[in-house]
């Protein structure tokens, strides 16, 4: 009698367990289907145009959310994505351009950056100076395309603020 009730008990637990496991599996599979396996991201290396087409000073590239600066033959690129919550910052030109030392090399600063979402402020080299921004704006690697000589930015390659691309 004791054995029989043990067996029933065991089978009952087995049944319930199998039911719960089955439901959990189905729920898991359904939820897993919502986690994307493929992300159709835009390519991170983008051709921006010939260096000669860039004006001296700043050009904003909205598609890449990027500021490209030119000073004679040297170029550098600063991200326009606010490090706080990802809004696009806007550039405001300074009344008096100044030259500061950034990462050991001099940089002529013509603008500062302001975020319209939560009021973060960055100086012209991307340093966060006020507001909630926790980090400076990112700097990205620029290079010259081997095939047609266009400027190329690599949005996946963050560089230090001493980075300058000199185009001969």
């Amino acid at each position: 009698m004791k054995e029989r009730s043990d067996r029933r008990d065991f089978l009952m637990k087995l049944g319930i367990g199998a039911g719960v496991a089955g439901l959990a599996g189905q729920a898991g599979a359904s939820l897993r289907s919502l986690v994307p396996n493929v992300s159709y991201d835009a390519p991170t290396t983008v051709k921006l145009g010939l260096p000669g087409e860039f004006p001296d000073g700043l050009r904003f590239l909205p598609d890449q959310r990027l500021f490209v600066f030119r000073e004679g033959n040297t170029f550098h690129a600063v991200s326009a994505v606010c490090t706080h919550l990802g809004c696009t910052v806007r550039a405001e030109s300074l009344s008096q351009p100044e030259t500061v030392s950034v990462g050991g090399s001099p940089l002529r600063v013509t603008h500062r950056f302001l975020c319209p979402c939560h009021g973060s402020r960055y100086s012209g080299d991307g340093t966060n100076v006020a507001g909630p921004a926790p980090r400076p704006l990112a700097w990205f690697r620029l290079s010259v395309a081997a095939d047609d000589g266009q400027l190329v930015v690599d949005l996946a390659d963050e560089v230090g603020r001493d980075f300058r691309l000199t185009v001969s």
């Binding site: 809004c87 696009t88 009021g119 926790p134």
Partner: protein, 448 residues
């Protein structure tokens, strides 16, 4: 035939059967009033009798009923919008524009939907304030009361309401929508370790695109309304199980304990359990005629006034107030300033001010102000019924002396939310810079 035939009149007067089903809201006797609750589908979730005091306009302000009426309006006005709105990144904006300018009465239907949503956030919040200030989450004299859990359910419903609003204002896919998704999902992304995956799950990818819109759309029209509906049903059921409003308990608590002899006229037939002669029950003070009224028609009448009144006010307001539609979503330009709807502005203020630097270590305001602080507030608010040590007699009345300290604390918190909302609404100008209302704001071009 051993069963005696019953006459039509006997059938009609059998307990639980109302003689005139369609007119059961106008009973001519107590018996009919009780039977109305049982025989009418629309009334079946009411109790037979209800404490007179709990019907007071000035006690509850009927804010829960107003919230439910607004939800009903949202479902009703959402129906036609479901047929008209197209959840596609390319066509969403145009379809909302069509609803606004081309569809017959489209603009009015959209306004009803939008105004109800805005007012529902306010009504649900005020309902929560009322319940807190009257200590209505406290258990009284009844057995098996779990009012504290209904408070928890209520907070879950407040969250569902806020998420419904958030997912709702994304659907037009205008500038407000796009940048709200950007900021909202970046707040989720700021959670340590799981944040980026959480953002990817919300967006359905790493960028804001079609998978994002369809996710928020399904959440808005199926998942969240379903969850809110289920919670609402449970919320109402718990109100019944807990013996009505806390106000009713208070009446029972304060009433003199006079023994009421069992009266043979009281039977379970009011609940439709037994036919013919039922067991007699001991009538408690609650059922005493001096303090209670029949739910039909007294409760029904007031509920109808509130529900129909809410509908009338919204319908008329929606004629006068048009719903705005910003420019189409433009990932290239962030509006300046980019403001959330008013009920999220206090959170936008908080994430603005909570980036802290300790030495070289920086904690992003997105996490501290967007996740940690609201999460903690929510946790404390949810657990409050277990922290509240005031006596049971403090429940069911406004601002009792014994709960003065906690009510002051709570009101201070509410005041902070209101002040931050006002600062966000009226004080913030371009670049989220603070301006006094009389200060001139600089003209800044919308595009650069």
């Amino acid at each position: 035939m051993s069963v005696p035939a019953t006459t039509a009149k006997e059938k009609a007067s059998a307990p639980g059967v109302h003689p005139r089903p369609l007119w059961s809201v106008r009973p001519s006797s107590d018996r009919e009033a009780g039977d109305a609750v049982v025989s009418n589908f629309l009334l079946h979730w009411f109790p037979a009798k209800v404490a007179k005091a709990s019907l007071d306009w000035g006690y509850s302000y009927w804010l829960g009923t107003v919230s439910a009426a607004l939800l009903l309006l949202l479902v009703l006005s959402g129906g036609p919008l479901l047929f008209l709105y197209i959840p596609s990144v390319e066509r969403a904006y145009a379809s909302v524009k069509d609803i606004e300018h081309v569809v017959a009465f489209g603009s009015w239907i959209r306004s009803v939907h939008r105004l109800s949503a805005h007012l529902m956030v306010a009504a649900v919040f005020l309902h929560l304030v009322r319940v807190f200030l009257t200590g209505a989450y406290k258990n009284g004299t009844g057995r098996g009361q779990r009012r504290e859990w209904n408070w928890v359910i209520g907070i879950a419903m407040l969250l569902a309401t806020l998420f419904l609003s958030f997912t709702g204002y994304l659907l037009p896919w205008d500038q407000l929508a796009y940048w709200a998704v950007t900021v909202g999902t970046n707040i989720a992304s700021s959670v340590p370790f799981v944040g980026p995956s959480l953002r990817e799950l919300l967006l359905g990818g790493r960028t804001i695109d079609q998978p994002t819109l369809i996710r928020f759309y399904v959440l808005h029209v199926i998942v969240l309304p379903g969850a809110l509906g289920a919670l609402l049903v449970y919320h109402m059921w718990r109100v019944r199980k807990d013996g009505g409003l806390a106000r009713a308990d208070r009446e029972a608590l304060l009433a003199e304990k006079t023994a009421v002899p069992p009266t043979p006229t009281k039977t379970y037939t009011l609940l439709g359990v037994a036919r013919g002669t039922g067991p007699t029950v001991r009538a408690s003070t609650l059922e005493a005629p001096a303090t209670t009224v029949n739910a039909v028609p007294d409760l029904v009448r007031r509920a109808a006034i509130v529900v129909l009144g809410t509908m009338a006010v919204i319908s008329m307001l929606a004629v006068a107030v048009r719903s705005p539609l910003e420019e189409p979503a433009n990932p290239l330009v962030t509006p300046n300033p980019a403001k959330a709807p008013w009920y999220f502005l206090w959170l936008q203020e908080i994430v603005t001010d909570t980036t802290v630097r300790i030495g070289s270590f920086t904690l992003n305001g997105a996490f501290l102000g967007g996740v940690l602080l609201p999460g903690l507030l929510l946790l404390v608010l949810t657990a409050w019924p277990w922290l509240d040590r005031s006596p049971a007699a403090a429940a069911g009345r406004w601002l009792p002396r014994s709960r003065r300290r906690q009510n002051t604390l709570f009101l201070a918190f509410c005041l902070m939310v209101v002040v931050l909302t006002l600062v966000g609404t009226f004080g913030r100008g371009p670049y989220w810079h603070f301006y006094w209302p009389w200060q001139e704001r600089p003209e800044i071009p919308a595009r650069i």
